[in-house]
Symmetry: D2
Subunit: 325 residues, 4 copies
């Protein structure tokens, strides 16, 4: 069953910083061209996912040339409204009309950009929209503002598919779109060209079963974009895919496949203390292993086992595939 296309999230290939080491843990400070070349050097990588800010000061034509030279596509542009000082208390949900409009306009500009390159997905990950303390925001107002802003953004061009990426928390203690069902609920309210970016580790952090979340998004036609990585379950660890939750990854890919997903699987990892290229290679390597496990499963036998609702039956089928014994 396994037959997936993979993309490198470019932010995973440069160095990473954190609150204790804002200067970053590596000396690497690669240009966009170099990041594209690194992505292209990883066997099996067919596309890249970028931030809109990656293209600041870059001529899109140059970027398209670099992609072409490396045999890559753009899977998705994620809009950076989350790392900008002025929006620290909110971007497209800010209570200040002017600040909010600036954020919305930034999103529209990213959509225009997408129209100029190869029409990738455009993804909203609202990392600074949420709250940290009780009573910090008026939840009802914030929610209404969120919907209106997304509708305005999605209405900017029906030719671009907009993805809402959900995540429980970080950097805000509570993010405004924390779970798959809030993302799906919003996507249904906000229009046909609004769907969801589903991130494996975000699902784990939200205490979801990633396979179930993918199944539900698929059922409602809203599985627009997929991020893969791994995590220990309480935080967005952004580890190399396939290192911790092997059976969960297998199940996730099974449902991504059943959803008929034909986009790219983007590796959204944050290798703070590991070489980014090595990390990307390990992701691909593990996914080859997962694909082989999927191939070892006979879907008819599995479906019959699932129909019984008895985990003894289905685990027997799956564990054969996992352990190869």
């Amino acid at each position: 069953m396994g037959n997936f296309k993979y993309a490198a999230c470019l932010w995973a290939l440069g160095g990473a910083a954190d609150r204790f080491c804002p200067g970053g843990y590596t000396d690497k400070s690669a240009t966009l061209k170099e990041l594209v070349e690194i992505a292209g050097s990883v066997d099996g990588m067919e596309a890249v996912e970028i931030f809109d800010s990656h293209l600041d000061g870059i001529d899109p034509k140059d970027y398209l040339g670099w992609l072409s030279d490396n045999g890559l596509k753009t899977s998705c542009i994620t809009i950076n409204t989350f790392g900008i000082k002025k929006w620290k208390l909110g971007s497209i949900t800010h209570s200040d009309k002017k600040l909010r409009q600036e954020a919305i306009d930034t999103c529209k500009k990213a959509i225009d950009l997408a129209l100029r390159i190869d029409r990738p997905l455009v993804s909203l990950w609202l990392g600074s929209d949420g709250f940290d303390y009780s009573f910090q925001v008026d939840y009802i107002k914030q929610w209404d503002t969120l919907q209106e802003s997304i509708q305005e953004i999605a209405g900017h061009s029906k030719d671009i598919r907009i993805c809402l990426e959900y995540k429980l928390k970080e950097p805000r203690k509570y993010l405004i779109i924390p779970t798959v069902m809030k993302a799906l609920f919003l996507a249904e309210k906000c229009g046909d060209n609004v769907g969801v970016t589903m991130d494996f580790g975000h699902a784990l952090m939200g205490k979801e079963k990633p396979g179930e979340s993918a199944a539900l998004l698929g059922k409602y036609g809203k599985l627009f974009n997929v991020h893969l990585n791994d995590a220990y379950g309480d935080w967005d660890d952004d580890l190399v895919a396939g290192t911790v939750h092997i059976q969960e990854t297998l199940e996730f890919m099974y449902y991504v496949g059943r959803a008929g997903y034909d986009g790219y699987i983007g590796f959204d990892i944050f290798p703070f203390r590991m070489d980014g290229t090595v990390a990307a290679e390990l992701c691909i390597k593990n996914m080859r292993g997962i694909e082989k496990m999927l191939d070892r499963i006979d879907d008819n036998i599995l479906k019959k086992a699932m129909e019984s609702l008895d985990a003894g039956n289905s685990q027997r089928v799956v564990l054969d595939a996992v352990y190869g014994v």
Copy 2:
């Protein structure tokens, strides 16, 4: 702002068992009549919430008499499909048509019962519908079955309001309705008389901010029933209300109030090792404290502070009320 009506969940007033002590930690084995009398003895308790199974073998007229003698109403009947052996792998979502129909019929019987007493809410808490292992169920089939079954149940009588109670897990490792947004999504799909039972501790366990969940349910007219208790956040601890998350409880009650909720606040606690009556009295006592805090807040000042999005402003207002300094 504080002006709430409280209800005792009758299962909190008898003894409690667990997997290590299935015989229960107390010798108490009270009859329904006795449980009603205990509830009536707690100052400030105006109603009871029951399981449908509490009325097995009881003439509803007798029950109504006991309530009347104790000055109580019935706030809600929760249907017990979760503690019955034959439904251990699923009740209204079971893949076996016969077993599933038996579960649906049990729900209809509970609705008929509700029509015969004072038309309380009827609540579905699907404790045995979900999964424990990857690949145990077909998520898409289970989801479709869930919707169809709820629609059939809700269609049985438009005069009774049906509540879906969400909870992340336990006893299944993953429950089929885990979060506020899945409950809300379903409620919207399943009809006007379908809403949500929101439990404070379940919201914490689902990593929600209870106040935000109440606000959203209120906005969509789906806050049908409220359960109060407290918890440490990783499990459904069912502690006495107001013992751990004081500011969260305050915020929750603030939004329950803003939603115009006029039902009962049911104390869904599980005092395994404490006297049930004492526990119920402490719940009321703490809520009187919370109500006083609410009264100390000037809503106009608070709303202005929230409008600024700066937690420094709103915390100043709220902490004055909390600490009374």
Copy 3:
């Protein structure tokens, strides 16, 4: 490197109950003799772990005969002080001297029993010793009492090795011995014949890395007993071993091996909704897979990779073994 002996925990082979279904989810109510036979029927199972209460009313000679008939040993006797009504607020740490002494005497009786059969380990899992609310107990007094009681129990016979089994919570909201380091600290204070029962799922629940906990216990000569199972990380799920955390299980067994552990690996699972025998068979099956992975690792290469501290190096070695690619 893989070469382990496995034991069935007998409580995993009968039916299981919980707070919602105290009568249990199965009709099975097997006698001790039958449980031993079930354990004996599972290919690869070489011993059983029992509760002292399993032998209530049984002649130890009969029990030894059943074991012998099934080619089994006793790996460990876990003392049941946790499921007894009178000790609901504490057993060997109870503030009431009489109740406490009764609990201590129960432990001594279990030691005497161990001396009469084949001198298995005796394990203390203090499930009812702890607290549920702030200020419920005086932590300092409870701690002192705990140490004194363990010392008295361990002093009863130097020929029996006593294990302290740690677990974060359940059934108490906080258990008195929650983590590996509290268990190790106590074991060091309480005598040479006091060590630790380490449970894989308990380590995960305590947010430990199971391999690291095993390594530390091994280093201090305190890894007396090992329980294997799996879990999602926030609760003692007691799932079939090797179903969720495959790399963690591999690492755990690696360090159990490096510790020179020559006891049994007991499967402490709770198959509420799965057949106990099937669950036990799946545990063994998965461990055969884990053993094969271990065999595929060259320890010298791995150690060199670990010495570099770079996860890229060690993951390459390990993932080859895991995915077999």
Copy 4:
């Protein structure tokens, strides 16, 4: 009972950055002198806690003058080995002898510095010592190295008390000293002048009851330093103290008091999106509220209630104090 001295952690008063906004969320970039002045301006603040790196390029005499001008002392110097690129894979536990020695020497330099000012505590928070993946480090070697290094550092001067600050994770996925008991175990092995910095939010993140952890450290004479803040329990949120876990904070301060702790309570908060001075003022304000609650508790009555082990009894006493009703 309440009578505490408070200190400002200087890193809480300037701006804060994170992985998404490495440039920081504020424009503020205060000098050490300015930070001391801000601390001095907060009513009730009697000392400051600093990083050793705060004094880079500063003459200690100047610093002492600024303190004196503002009526402040230094409570503690925390050594920054965690935010330095070269130690990203480990500082005093690094497998590379040269890098490790450089880290140890940095610690010795901080001790020398402490001897030159007013002999504050010196604290080790080993944020980059730990691991992210299974098999990344050899746990046994890392542990041995840790002990040896701490012993070397603590041996540098017996006149300075060294604190080990434990924390479950971040920035490493697993930190080498994650819990109170590992810190205590190490402190006991490493010498009389080695104790523990206990951080309230770290205890919550480690699923500890902060009051219990303080009680145990106090009992063994190892409660050297106290950090206060608040958190939601799954992460080191570093919120304003007294905003979330009010009863837990009360209990914590009760046991800090019972331990005879006479040091400073340092507010280790990270107000990413709130003004640092406002946050510090709110901390003090809330602690005044907590102190009043403590004063409302009669310790003899509380101790008698705790002796009963029945939470109904003790909660009645405590909730009177909390809610003032």
